[in-house]
């Protein structure tokens, strides 16, 4: 019941946000549906007229259909980049199969004798097709179409994974910021949209059914409606893209709570201090691996990154990163990508070990080396990822000589709870974890420098910086304004306090006196 109330509050409070997502969702699915219908029906007709080709074409389309959607999106990113276009291509490709198959089945199942009658009466091949075959196959094609529409609307939910809009954004954001109400609202709205559209199609199908003598009128209304929707869609998008004429920078963020907040901070302050408009694409699935291609192709101008991720994942170095290597990191970025690092806000989202306050006091633990002496009496818990990664558990035990009494796999969302309940004594944390700010735990100093430093900074294309040098001043203002505790606190407000990232960002800027109104 609480959840229901939370969802209702969310919808009322952020009506505009959800309406916008709904519109985007509709736009993405509708475009894909139109594309898939045109191509799918055409292909279906072609392979039913030239049956020799049907096996190959259906085989290929069947094969594509079996590619998992996430993988297909990944495959498409290098070609069509990140965003709506890729989403539409992927959705159209999936939607092809039901259209092609149903068109093919519908047409090939038309009674041969009916076709011979039509032929014997002097119909051309084309006349047989459009006067006989297609009208008779129409109910089968229509059932494929309805299937496809529902499927596409549902599948469009994953489009947000690659930075496209739509209601999936709410789901994805809900998951990454621990906001169940938002995830549920997004899912529910997708389900309702699919049901409503399917219901409408069913209604129109009935109305235009051959038993209905007024079908001509219904058909006209239906066609008119479709055309009107198409025009509205195109016009709506033109109005949106018209905004491109002004000065614009595009910022991407990864699907983690603090990046959502940083994104909002950047947007608000850049738009306040300069006449640049910020286009914010929040929470790109796959993070760095999907944002970097977008940066290289110029789809994005900047994004918040962590130094060790840049060092290890982007530049491909192995080994521990520490901040003494920062200038080298920057130099390599400039040489390899013509990107640079700017505006470090001060916090580091690195791995660290934490123990419960009780345990820390009991054994007098301050550093990881202290922990080594008592590790035989303690239970260690972490999410499976930490056990798997090469710079994770195994190597850590080797360097520090830990021999824990027991080791447990704990879900990342339940780690803090497990420590509080005493089920585990030691765990890995990220130094800006939202729950860290309230949990009864102590972070142990990494005195042997085992964990890489992960200071946040903005990776920006140098070209953009030259074009808009005023951004430098903005970045300067943000430097060293947030330490680990402050970031953890902001994360907490979003994840547990259920505050909007935008509000948290605004409050931050206000408190730091960075907003113009606040100076007086």
């Amino acid at each position: 019941m609480d959840l229901l109330k939370e969802m209702i509050d969310l919808i009322i409070g952020r009506k505009e946000f959800f309406l916008n997502l709904l519109w985007e969702h509709f736009y993405i699915s509708f475009s894909s549906i139109v594309i898939a219908s045109v191509i799918g029906i055409t292909l279906g007709i072609v392979i039913s007229e030239y049956r020799g080709s049907s096996k190959i074409i259906l085989g290929v389309i069947n094969f594509i259909y079996t590619i998992p959607s996430i993988a297909l999106l990944g495959i498409l990113i290098p070609f069509s980049g990140i965003g709506n276009v890729t989403a539409m291509i992927a959705l159209s490709i999936y939607a092809l199969l039901p259209m092609v198959r149903n068109t093919f089945t519908g047409i090939t199942n038309v009674d041969e004798r009916v076709i011979e009658a039509a032929r014997g009466m002097g119909s051309t091949r084309f006349q047989i097709l459009y006067k006989i075959k297609i009208p008779i196959a129409l109910p089968v094609i229509m059932s494929g179409f309805r299937n496809m529409v529902t499927m596409t609307i549902a599948l469009a939910g994953i489009a947000s994974f690659i930075g496209a809009g739509g209601l999936g954004t709410a789901i994805y954001r809900g998951i990454t910021t621990n906001n169940t109400a938002m995830t549920l609202t997004g899912s529910l709205m997708i389900a309702i949209l699919a049901l409503v559209v399917d219901g409408m199609l069913g209604f129109f199908e009935k109305m235009s059914g051959r038993r209905n003598r007024k079908k001509r009128k219904v058909r006209i209304i239906l066609c008119g409606g479709m055309i009107a929707l198409l025009i509205i869609g195109i016009a709506g998008n033109m109005i949106r893209s018209n905004q491109n004429s002004e000065k614009i920078v595009r910022i991407a963020t990864k699907p983690v709570t603090e990046q959502y907040i940083i994104g909002e901070i950047l947007k608000e302050i850049i738009e306040q201090d300069t006449d640049i408009t910020v286009e914010l694409t929040q929470g790109i699935g796959g993070g760095t691996s999907n944002i970097m291609p977008g940066m290289q192709s110029g789809e994005f101008d900047m994004y918040p990154e962590y130094t060790c991720t840049g060092w290890n994942l982007v530049l491909g170095h192995t080994g521990v990163y520490d901040e003494s290597m920062y200038s080298k990191l920057r130099k390599e970025y400039e040489e390899s990508y013509d990107f640079t690092w700017k505006g470090q806000m001060g916090f580091s989202n690195a791995y660290a070990l934490a123990v419960s306050k009780e345990v820390a006091e009991k054994y007098g633990l301050k550093t990881c080396s202290d922990l080594q002496k008592v590790s035989g009496q303690l239970v260690f818990g972490a999410e499976y990822d930490f056990f798997e990664r090469p710079d994770g558990y195994g190597k850590m035990c080797e360097i520090y000589g830990f021999t824990f009494k027991n080791v447990r796999d704990v879900d990342i969302g339940l780690k803090y709870q497990a420590v509080n309940e005493g089920k585990i004594d030691v765990m890995d944390v990220f130094t800006t974890d939202g729950q860290l700010s309230k949990a009864q735990v102590v972070i142990l100093e990494d005195d042997k420098g085992y964990f890489s430093s992960a200071k946040e900074g903005i990776v920006i294309r140098r070209e953009v910086l030259q074009k808009y040098p005023e951004l430098e001043t903005v970045f300067k203002k943000l430097e060293n304004t947030v330490d680990n505790e402050a970031m953890a606190e902001m994360n907490y407000q979003v994840e547990e306090g259920k505050k909007d990232t935008k509000d948290v960002a605004h409050t931050f800027l206000l408190e730091k006196g960075l907003l113009k109104g606040a100076e007086e």
Binding site: R113, V114, R119, G120, M121
Partner: protein, 243 residues
């Protein structure tokens, strides 16, 4: 007078099987030719050669003196009525659209098409209120009548019928036979009518063609066939008809 349809040394082979060979026949204008024979005797093959649905491997088919392969087959077919077994109406069209099918292919004049539809539902003995119905809302007999009206709607010179009354009960069949006979008398159209029912062939035909194993056993008026059967096969057929 020049025959309206002429087969000249026609041969048709499917795979290993020869369907017809050395087939020669001339059909006079206004004839009601019934074609009867055992199944696989080539009677449907002969029929479909007239409108080019089946092209002979050897020999020539002339319609109104012209080699059909040198003509535009689409145009030729529009001027030849075609009705097949079970009539096979277009299920997606109303009765009216079914009947108007060929007139619509031939011209865009609504007025003319409407007149043709009105004329032919009357001749085929259909009520006007059926025009807006769909084929599956009709009885078997009504469907056959629509099939006949559809085949005749463009007022063709030739009507090809392939066991058109195969799928209806005896009573309806009798009615339809009288109907088609009346239409033939009224319009003086040339009809080729394939059947496997000797009684139907004898009742309807002004000439009867008896086919057996791809060749003509006998060709003549019903009276000639009845009184002077040429082969055992014809004798057997005739004997059946007397039962």
């Amino acid at each position: 007078m020049e025959p309206i349809i002429k087969y000249q040394d026609v041969k048709k082979v499917y795979g290993e099987k020869t369907i017809v060979e050395h087939f020669n026949l001339s059909i006079e204008k206004g004839e009601f030719l019934t074609i009867i024979g055992s199944s696989g005797s080539g009677k449907t093959t002969i029929l479909k050669m007239v409108n080019g649905l089946i092209i002979p491997d050897e020999g020539t088919v002339f319609v109104e003196g012209k080699d059909i392969l040198k003509e535009d087959l689409i145009q030729l077919r529009r001027n030849i009525g075609y009705a097949i077994q079970g009539s096979v109406l277009f299920p997606n069209m109303t009765v009216e659209k079914n009947i108007a099918y060929v007139p619509n292919l031939l011209n865009d004049k609504k007025e003319k098409t409407n007149q043709a539809v009105q004329k032919w539902i009357r001749i085929a003995g259909l009520e006007e209120e059926l025009l807006n119905r769909y084929p599956d809302e009709l009885s078997g007999g009504q469907q056959q009548r629509v099939g006949i009206a559809r085949a005749l709607a463009a007022s063709p010179e030739i009507l090809l019928m392939d066991e058109p009354f195969g799928a209806v009960d005896e009573i309806t069949r009798g009615e339809l036979q009288r109907e088609i006979k009346r239409i033939h008398e009224e319009t003086n159209i040339t009809i080729l009518f394939v059947t496997h029912d000797i009684n139907e062939a004898m009742t309807l035909g002004s000439k009867v063609l008896v086919m057996n194993a791809g060749a003509i056993d006998q060709y003549g008026t019903p009276e000639e066939i009845m009184s002077l059967p040429k082969t055992d096969f014809v004798r057997k057929l005739v004997a059946n008809s007397r039962k």
